[in-house]
Symmetry: C2
Subunit: 200 residues, 2 copies
């Protein structure tokens, strides 16, 4: 149940963990070569250039994310809990260093020097995520669970930026609880609390 991964998938897996650790300029074909035990040239066979390798990687990451978010909306009915579950996912990833860190959060901080083909895919990932968040917020408003100060698209953008910023900070400062400390109050401020509901 482990060796079923194809070589190209293994290459992508390793590349992902290397980028998450050290960014786009922080890894080389030689690193991947050493990690999975095939020659550099063989990696070039699967991914002719580095920019292409990372482009494919970001596309895969985006697909996985979209799938995850979709199933999240299908399996959890309450928008509030969908959002909470999304945060919990990242919280657990940050707490347990063996779990993945957000690929695009890392690449985002290098946006300025990424090859354009990579940068545009990173932007696409965030665009998709923002759409998801927007629709969750919108659903929450309709179900009288959330009250927003701004338009849903704006609130989604803020939330997304905040989550990714918090993620980077929590890791940099080596304190996973920072993530929750930053994100939780923002989540709470969206929610129409039970007491507020009862009163209003």
């Amino acid at each position: 149940m482990k060796s079923t991964a194809s070589t190209s998938e293994k290459i992508l897996d390793i590349a992902q963990s290397l980028i998450v650790a050290g960014g786009y300029n922080g890894f080389s074909y030689a690193d991947i070569s050493a990690a999975i035990g095939i020659r550099k040239a063989s990696i070039h066979h699967h991914f002719p250039t580095k920019a292409e390798l990372v482009s494919v990687l970001v596309s895969r990451y985006r697909q996985q994310t979209e799938a995850g978010l979709k199933s999240l909306r299908e399996e959890i009915s309450s928008p509030a809990e969908q959002l909470q579950s999304y945060m919990n996912y990242w919280h657990s990833c940050i707490r347990d260093a063996s779990l993945p860190f957000c690929l695009c959060a890392m690449l985002a901080s290098e946006m300025q020097m990424l090859p354009e083909e990579v940068a545009s895919r990173v932007r696409a990932h965030f665009h998709g995520l923002a759409e998801w968040l927007t629709s969750v917020l919108q659903a929450g408003v309709e179900q009288d669970l959330f009250r927003l100060d701004k338009r849903p698209e704006e609130e989604a953008q803020i939330l997304m930026a905040s989550v990714h910023g918090a993620m980077l900070s929590a890791r940099a400062f080596g304190d996973p609880e920072l993530f929750i400390a930053i994100v939780a109050p923002q989540l709470a401020s969206l929610r129409i609390s039970d007491s507020r509901k009862l009163r209003g």
Copy 2:
């Protein structure tokens, strides 16, 4: 008033702008050489190794920051305005791309792969900043301007992580106003508003 900068200072200046743009692995001695018109070997004369160059740079950055924060506290009496002024500084830097971006925010996202001597200085910078924020928050509490949910040190840590995360996000998403949108509500939630004061 421009050519008064020594060569080593010029080297540090260029290195800073290069790191801010592309991170630790995103620049080379050759880049600096090309930018200020001296040979690579001459840069090695001033800074034998890259790790040392960046270490000195971070130290300089820390000193500049401490000086700036100190004068901020001297020139502005109200803790609330000190904090506001600190945020405004970064907001204007993000809005105007020609102004500097936070060196340590950038390096923080690469923390895992920085040479230890660099990483420890980055941590030192953040430690100093956290102390400043803590004392401002504390002063604010004593003057009945702020009400904190947690201990001042914790609130300072959260605020610091949040500011730097927001900074990275705002730049990555190319939307300077994201910075304010994330940070302002947090600042507001610390403040005891006039209305609250009148009531309480």
